[in-house]
Symmetry: C2
Subunit: 260 residues, 2 copies
Amino acid sequence: MSTIGIFDSGVGGLTVLQAMRPRLPMLDFIYLGDTARLPYGSKSASTVRRYAVNATRHLIDRGVQLVVVACNTASASALDEVVAASPVPVVGVVEPGVESALASGARHIAVIGTEGTIGSEAYQRSLQRRAPHVKVDAVACPLFVPLAEEGWGDHPITDQVAWTYLSEVLSRGVEALILGCTHYPLLKPSLARIAGPGVKLVDSATAVTDAVIDRHGRMALDGSTEGTVTIHLTDASQRFLRIAKTILGEPPEHLEVVDL
Amino acid sequence: MSTIGIFDSGVGGLTVLQAMRPRLPMLDFIYLGDTARLPYGSKSASTVRRYAVNATRHLIDRGVQLVVVACNTASASALDEVVAASPVPVVGVVEPGVESALASGARHIAVIGTEGTIGSEAYQRSLQRRAPHVKVDAVACPLFVPLAEEGWGDHPITDQVAWTYLSEVLSRGVEALILGCTHYPLLKPSLARIAGPGVKLVDSATAVTDAVIDRHGRMALDGSTEGTVTIHLTDASQRFLRIAKTILGEPPEHLEVVDL
């Protein structure tokens, strides 16, 4: 039985698990949320690298055959370090998001994310390298994670915050918006209203699932029974459980508090 | 020369340093912001206790003569552990805030704070123990810290968030609102608008400064020259520096990244 390890700073990466599981139903998943040290998005790149390598080693020790770095901040700042620390393949969320945005044919793409992700310029550099003709904008949206965690993904206040952050860039004719943070799919109702029907919302969770199936699809054939999901947390907060239930549609079953 | 050690999960406790310094100008201060592991407010009590004891030991090792737990979440969940770990006196922010609110003569007091602070019920229990006749309400306001860190303390969106959180409790006739988080003084313009002139806003930073001077005022006489301020951070984020400048009115001078 193959096992995919997914890690994120907290609860947001569950949107990746939720996108992946129905398409790879026979695999086992270990999801690691580094809830004792979240968020990564406002921390320095060197601290994020240290935490990401810690998290990867934990998953490797538990025997995973593929590591998905579901955290955009860690994918943007620490992917090289994670790849170097991992004897098994590693998939980040930045490249799949970029590929999906370019595949939409958009000629003007904006990426939104945490301060860490936007400050790393990982999305911007990847877009410019792959498609020098595409116009690229980037906006840090620090309030989006707390709004998502508050459960206000479809809320007039979130509409106003999104308008405050995004009206300028939208007015410049953006055609695709990369949701460069695993929390942001939870804000899709508000983001879709503010962006309007002409702007494609590119969801990391879907993009990384496509990438895993494209590149590692044979893993899906290795299992013979229904796969399990185990959740490891570095801190068992009530907040995680509440938001996890919203994302997964049910409370997580196998939950373990671990010390990295 | 006496040294006061102040610690907080991040930048919010600088409101305490800023309130304390002009009134104790001859003392040295070491401010420790545990920025690598912030926020404490959404984490479990056991994790907060571990982090708070870590932080206290760091300050003790640096020779402080008094520890101020400027973080409300740590004061609410971990004060006993910090006192047990400290050979020098410890002052938290909960009791001074409670005393200040009761001294206002309010007969109906609401405390606002992070999920961790409100969930610990430390404020509620202290108020009920000291003044059983006072009516007590408590509201967790998870978006207030990110709004303060975004610099939106005087902003129409913050007004609306505050209204969403507080309108119900305010309609019940609250006379004093304890700002049970060191970030919240940054939101005073919005909070004052929403609460109205009939509601006293009780600021932790001022209350804890009064408590330190009342109980340990002689320390202020020990110095003979102008005191220094040293800032220790567990993660050197740009965000800390930006917000520190807003709170202190100037960029912090002596800054050191430490590993707890």
